[in-house]
Symmetry: C2
């Protein structure tokens, strides 16, 4: 069972405490009464997508003895125009940096995460179409 507690601080600022013991500030845009002191809740869905699949991919690449020196994941999301403006599309771009990185290893790692392991992707794809691509930068 996963748990979180979210507490109103003031105005539109909330703090979320995760079951694992970490706290995150969230806030809304000044146009809707917030002060932008933290991310919008919906942005956390994109960050969670990148973190979840990033952890899978780096684990798999390490197991495959790839000499990875950097991993960045750019995530973009499109929302529906009508309320409740759910996420309809998510685009994930992996940028793997390293030395003699095998394209086959990266392709396999990304596919394993997207098709088998990533719980966040699997949850979000109930509503959002997920696209992904990768780039390798060998130094």
């Amino acid at each position: 069972m996963l748990k979180a507690k979210v507490t109103l601080v003031k105005e539109m600022q909330f703090v979320g405490d995760s079951g694992s013991g970490h706290a995150i500030v969230m806030d809304s845009d000044p146009s809707v009464g917030g002060k932008n002191t933290g991310p919008r809740p919906v942005e956390l869905l994109l960050i969670a997508s990148g973190g979840c699949t990033g952890m899978d991919v780096i684990s798999i690449l390490r197991k495959k003895k790839q000499d990875v020196t950097g991993l960045e994941i750019n995530v973009k999301g499109n929302k529906a125009e009508e309320f409740p403006k759910k996420l309809t599309e998510i685009t994930i771009e992996y940028i793997v940096k390293g030395r003699n990185i095998s394209e086959e290893a990266v392709k396999r790692a990304v596919e394993l995460s997207m098709n088998k392991y990533c719980s966040v992707k699997a949850t979000l794809e109930g509503s959002a179409k997920i696209h992904y691509s990768y780039k390798i930068i060998n130094e």
Copy 2:
């Protein structure tokens, strides 16, 4: 278009930058190579749920001139046992504290968020069944 960038720092620690300009540390459990320096990515889905609906509910209660002195949202999530272990169920409990809070106003605020406004709930319900309840504590 929403954006986020997620960057590997070291081991299983990643930092996610939101398009609105805020950064969040994520990490995995020590059992899978992490150091628990930040929340798990999947926990962010629960925190996002609470933050999103919390912002809706407090906005609506303020418009209804309710004298709210506190708002807490407890969120629980169940994951599937099989990989990719997606979230299958989310339970949201609102605790509204205040003076002479109208139950009708709380009921209406929660329903408007759940059924009309909350983008995170609308996105997650593509995979997860969402349950909710509320408690009012008049001081």
